[in-house]
Symmetry: C3
Subunit: 350 residues, 3 copies
């Protein structure tokens, strides 16, 4: 992924909010962290804890915060910015558009589109895509092997990577990004035990995602038993996340990799769920709650609270407990000694 990028182009992108100190004449050949950057690279100070590494960085162009007052080395250019991380994101977005251009509009000859499906003339339908009957696809990109089920809807500007499945009747919002291998609208896991066997409970609902939702690679979202499994606008779901039937996730949530959310649980807005956490069914997770990675949530969580543990408890209590647990061997020893000592004491009036 060789890069040859001019300083002028970067200044163009950041023009509104950028002060330059020093100078670099050549092309930008790559992007790297402060400590790994080589001459020719662009780097940045995103996290204050790396501030010390900035002066030693060999990068030729550096995005630094406005209040950074050291002078650049000879041949080095500092760009002083309000938010260097976001500035980098803007630059990367521009590079991305060059490296990974949007595929051409139109339907690949290998794709199959059923007669009564509606596909926007501005859609990009890649190799081996399958659009079932009654489906509506907006001005979206479907890379390859994307299947859109019967009467499913794909919003404008959605981007569906390779091998995404959108099940029958499911609705994908505008500007969603669905990563490779994710499955939207698999059957919910519902059975009734009867006559010595688990009888399947039909799952006749769908999945509805609002605008600006991202779903990670190989994640799975089950269709509702009836009604809809819902993902709120702006929510970002990482890879290998499992969201069960009738779950409702609020707006602007972050759900990190390998999380599992059981059936009918409701998440408020702005909830953050750390990697590999699990949430039992039929619970309410209040807005702004933070659930640490690996936590097992088995009861409702209040808004704005922070929990961790197996099972979940207030983060502060968990952290205290984690320290004390390591002292258990010592406590048991001390207890045995104390008990022995007390037993050796004279007892009053027996």
């Amino acid at each position: 992924m060789a890069l040859a990028y001019s300083t002028e182009r970067i200044l163009e992108i950041l023009s509104n909010d950028c002060e330059t100190v020093g100078a670099y004449e050549g092309s930008i050949l790559g992007i790297a962290s402060l400590s790994e950057a080589e001459p020719g690279d662009l780097s940045f100070l995103g996290n204050p804890k790396y501030r010390a590494a900035l002066a030693d960085s060999k990068a030729s162009v550096l995005l630094v915060p406005k209040d950074y007052d050291e002078a650049p080395k000879s041949g080095q250019l500092y760009l002083k910015l309000e938010n260097p991380s976001f500035a980098l994101a803007l630059i990367c977005r521009d590079i991305e558009a060059t490296l990974l251009p949007k595929p051409p509009v139109g339907i690949h000859p290998s794709a199959v589109v059923e007669a009564d499906a509606e596909v926007s003339p501005e859609a990009c339908i890649g190799a081996f895509c399958y659009i079932a009957s009654g489906a509506k696809v907006g001005a979206a990109v479907l890379e390859s092997y994307v299947s859109v089920g019967r009467s499913a809807v794909i919003g404008d500007e959605a981007y569906l990577f390779s091998r995404v499945s959108v099940g029958d009747y499911c609705q994908i919002g505008e500007r969603n990004r669905l990563m490779s291998g994710c499955v939207i609208g698999s059957d919910g896991y519902g059975y009734e035990y009867l006559d010595g066997a688990h009888q399947r409970v039909p799952q006749i609902g769908n999945v509805v995602t609002d605008a600006d939702v991202d779903i990670g690679a190989n994640s799975t979202i089950d269709r509702a038993r009836f009604g809809s499994t819902q993902i709120g606008g702006g929510t970002k779901v990482d890879n290998q996340v499992q969201i069960a039937h009738n779950v409702r996730v609020g707006r602007h949530c972050l759900i990190v990799a390998q999380v599992g959310i059981s059936g009918s649980t409701i998440l408020g807005d702005g909830v953050v769920v750390g990697g590999q956490a699990g949430i039992a069914g039929h619970l309410k997770i209040g807005s702004g709650a933070m659930i640490a990675g690996g936590t097992a949530v088995v009861s409702d969580i209040e808004a704005q609270s922070k929990v961790r543990g197996y099972p979940a408890m207030p983060m502060m209590l968990f952290n205290r407990m984690a320290v004390l647990q390591r002292k258990l061997p010592d406590l048991f020893k001390r207890f045995d000694q104390l008990e022995k000592r007390v037993k050796s004491l004279p007892v009053e009036s027996e």
Copy 2:
């Protein structure tokens, strides 16, 4: 997923076991829970704990237990039944058959079927399916992008959703439902460390599922090192479950999402494994055992026992421990005080 369903049709489905109280004249437009139902909706009392919500429900048609004696509101119809949940399942099955009809019999022109594969004339082979040489496909449905490996067998009435892979020599039982993205027959994870590297141990066995097995979306079941990885009849596996080589799962088990079962472990019949639980290799899990979500099983589990924890312990002990753990900070404090007090006591005969 608009619905327009008549009360007559519902009575038809439930005719054998249903008493009506009250009346509703219109069409049924949707299905919803008691508290969310609007006029026109069908609802039901499945879980006794929602009994209080029944009287307030706006639903027009309600499935209620036989012993529910309150009268419906005007314009409301109660259907009194032995098992309202199961009655709902029957109704949903009927709706499902309408919303999601079985695709037409035949082989889609885009599918590739190798010359010496055998496909039942009653099979539905969807777009972009691939049937390898020597494979036998019964009167099953293969939606799209389903690959059936060399000499693999798919039983009658099996339903393979989009993007299912059945590996070489694997055998899928009758009436199995394999959800999108699941992989049956990936290589087992087996290596021998030799000459400074992990040498792959060939995995020449297969996977065999009995009748009525469901496998969830993006779940993976590895082929055996030799012999077969086996899933017993009626067992239901949720999404993103990993079942390693040479595992044998008994009949009528429930394995919830994101569970991992390591190599050569044997599960009896009717075992329930909660979400995200992990089971180490070469273990025996007795019939009827219940393993709570998130549990890490590292030794054999007796039949009918209930375990939870990391590592697994009897459920009762875990629950007791979970309470006591939260009291650890307090215990440490009390202990320090007690120790101080004892040290201040006069000591007998030293």
Copy 3:
């Protein structure tokens, strides 16, 4: 998977290092463990703990260690070897080559190869594969539904099973085995919170795997934010593993199923990570470290150390703690008694 294998063929494979005791005249019909083998089967003593089961095994041909001195039963053949497990692997490799022969060289007529992609004339490109523009595919096997992104590279002798996605610009090393459904090069999970929403941080790096890497079914490896997510030579990754952006995994590591590794974490060489373990971001895991299954790693781990727990602690401490935890109910009881007793004691000088 019926087998009919001659003893002669086995001796041929093992000729360099094998002593025979006893004799078996028939064909070998299967391979099974010592206790499950039937007459006609081949079996082996791989794990010393099964030594007692050897004398009772009904297997006709047995691979035993050189120091096993018991005599075979009549009609039974012992092959005495330095490493019976590895000998079995050699035999299985030979059987595998028969059961699962390499598909024929060439490009399946249903595959789509863009005009400026380079495909080796020795490559096997299966049904419905898609090779994007600028991609280079060596003498590799791509089974079916394999997509190779723009400017991606697939090394010689790599084997990509059904439904593997290799993203734009990613590089797959020689002799890699990528199992079905794995996704190499999905977007890293990176957002900046700005103006009330999570803004996507473009991910313009790639994934690079060295030689002899295996990636399990439905595993996901995210492309770097910039630079490369790296998997070192000889490392073996199991099913449903998630490796986030900018992670670097060393050489000859074993990463068992359902592990999650967060962004920018660095693993040394020979690290072993047990199933379902999670590793937080920006950490360093020293070479040779062993992380037990289910462990949650939240800080750096020293080389050669063994850790377990939630959060991770030294294995020995965890094991001690796991024992003591079960004694907590008893400790609390004993403590209450002791406290009562001490309070009943006369207090010195108050």
